[in-house]
């Protein structure tokens, strides 16, 4: 899928960069930058010992992006430290999600990442205590209008994001991994029960490997805005490769997906990581998820949409109907997270607010 796209090729078959000319490098750097994966490109090229094939001028951009990624990593580690510092006295266990989890567990998926907000999950009952502890230690609820406050508290699964007064870093506190209004409802208690400590620290935890992978898959394939689609696909690739070394992983993954009713996102995760990046998914696992997959018609439609949307939104990656594909997936993402009677007014309002901001 998308063998025409330089950045996809560079990740699925890194050795191909040896054949790239300066014009190719120019486009490749811009695609990678747009997809927020320029530092990850550096990591891949370094790991494959291909940096000698990079022209000096392009190399500088990779180095610069890597410097920025290292800064992001520093900031995240400190932030996790400060969050622990703030929540220590409450004794409430915290589950780190997404990028923060990859970093604290030293997973390859963490290398070259740019981090934005930190996402943590706590039990629903402990939300008020956690919110209060964060407020005491310098976080403030991000200013939102009444509509957005309702959107967060009632319809999504989060208290509104909180920004630290001095550091300006943002924390999202979840109690479930999907909004309350979503059809699929993976049981948060199960996720908690299976979570693993970081470095033996019982109050700082991450999801179990199968859950981490399913969460990443659900996040990507329930998501409407795919500006970081390729980045998220790369995460999944790294997680499959890292966890897949344990041969029991694949069976456990299937079972867990069934248990949490997340077989569809798992299907897409396997299909598209293999399709784009040649991820080594065992054939038996692929066959099993296909049985739970969409019918041939829907599959064809989803292939057409994701083929267009899972690449950086750089003009050089666009093909015929890319904009339409992105728009349809945007609507789908919201539809999966909200019932229709909430969705339409929400989309209208968002469009109107966007218009106002543009003036």
């Amino acid at each position: 899928m998308r063998d025409d796209c330089l950045i996809v090729r560079a990740f699925s078959r890194p050795e191909i960069v040896a054949s790239y000319n300066p014009c190719d490098w120019d486009v490749l750097i811009r695609q990678a930058r747009r997809g927020d994966i320029l530092a990850r490109l550096y990591v891949v090229l370094q790991q494959c010992q291909l940096l000698t094939n990079v022209p000096e001028s392009a190399h500088m951009h990779l180095i610069s992006a890597w410097a920025l990624a290292q800064k992001h990593e520093r900031v995240l580690r400190w932030e996790v430290d400060r969050i622990q510092h703030a929540l220590n006295e409450t004794g409430i266990p915290v589950v780190l999600l997404k990028g923060a989890a990859y970093l604290m567990q030293d997973l390859p998926a963490a290398r070259g990442r740019f981090y934005a907000d930190i996402d943590i999950m706590v039990s629903k009952e402990s939300l008020p205590v956690v919110e209060r502890a964060l407020l005491i230690h310098g976080w403030m609820t991000v200013k939102l209008d009444a509509y957005d406050q309702r959107y967060y508290r009632k319809w999504m699964h989060e208290i509104p994001p909180m920004r630290h007064r001095r550091r300006q870093t943002v924390i999202d506190v979840h109690h479930r991994i999907l909004p309350e209004t979503t059809r699929a409802q993976p049981d948060a208690t199960k996720l908690f029960a299976a979570s693993v400590p970081v470095d033996g620290n019982e109050s700082l935890r991450t999801l179990a490997p199968v859950d981490m992978l399913l969460h990443s898959a659900t996040h990507l394939f329930y998501e409407g805005e795919l500006d970081h689609g390729l980045r998220d696909l790369l995460d999944l690739h790294e997680l499959f490769v890292t966890f897949g070394e344990d041969e029991n992983f694949w069976t456990k993954l299937q079972e867990r997906a069934q248990e949490l009713e997340l077989t569809r996102p798992l299907y897409y995760a396997m299909r598209y990581t293999y399709g784009f990046l040649k991820t080594p998914i065992p054939l038996s696992s692929m066959r099993q998820v296909e049985a739970e997959g969409p019918n041939w018609l829907l599959r064809g439609v989803m292939d057409a949409l994701y083929k267009r949307a899972l690449v950086p939104s750089h003009p050089s990656c666009d093909v015929y109907l890319t904009s339409l594909a992105r728009w349809l997936l945007y609507i789908r993402g919201h539809y999966l997270r909200m019932p229709l009677y909430l969705l339409i007014p929400h989309l209208i309002r968002k469009a109107f607010v966007k218009e106002k901001k543009n003036k």
Partner: protein
């Protein structure tokens, strides 16, 4: 402020030092912040890097290093400095 609190330099992250005369530059690899300290603050901080201490112990150290009297004023100065270093994120209380 209770004087029974034990302090130590921040753990889990390194502090990097450089000095020119009596000016000490410290880079905290955890917070990413850089600080300029005088001899007094540098002595306290470097001592807390070696081992944890309470105000009394730090007071003795300062008194002998700077040939000063160990008195209430010195204690108060050290307390104030410790609170500031805590705020800056270079030291922490031990529980």
């Amino acid at each position: 402020m209770s004087e029974q609190v034990r302090w130590r330099a921040i753990s889990g992250f390194m502090l990097h030092w450089h000095k020119w005369g009596n000016e000490h530059i410290v880079y905290n690899a955890g917070s990413g912040d850089t600080h300029l300290f005088n001899d007094f603050a540098a002595l306290i901080l470097s001592s807390l890097q070696e081992e944890a201490a309470m105000v009394d112990e730090l007071s003795q150290l300062c008194a002998s290093s700077f040939k000063q009297d160990e008195n209430d004023e010195l204690h108060a100065q050290i307390n104030e400095l410790l609170l500031e270093l805590d705020r800056l994120g270079v030291i922490e209380r031990i529980h």
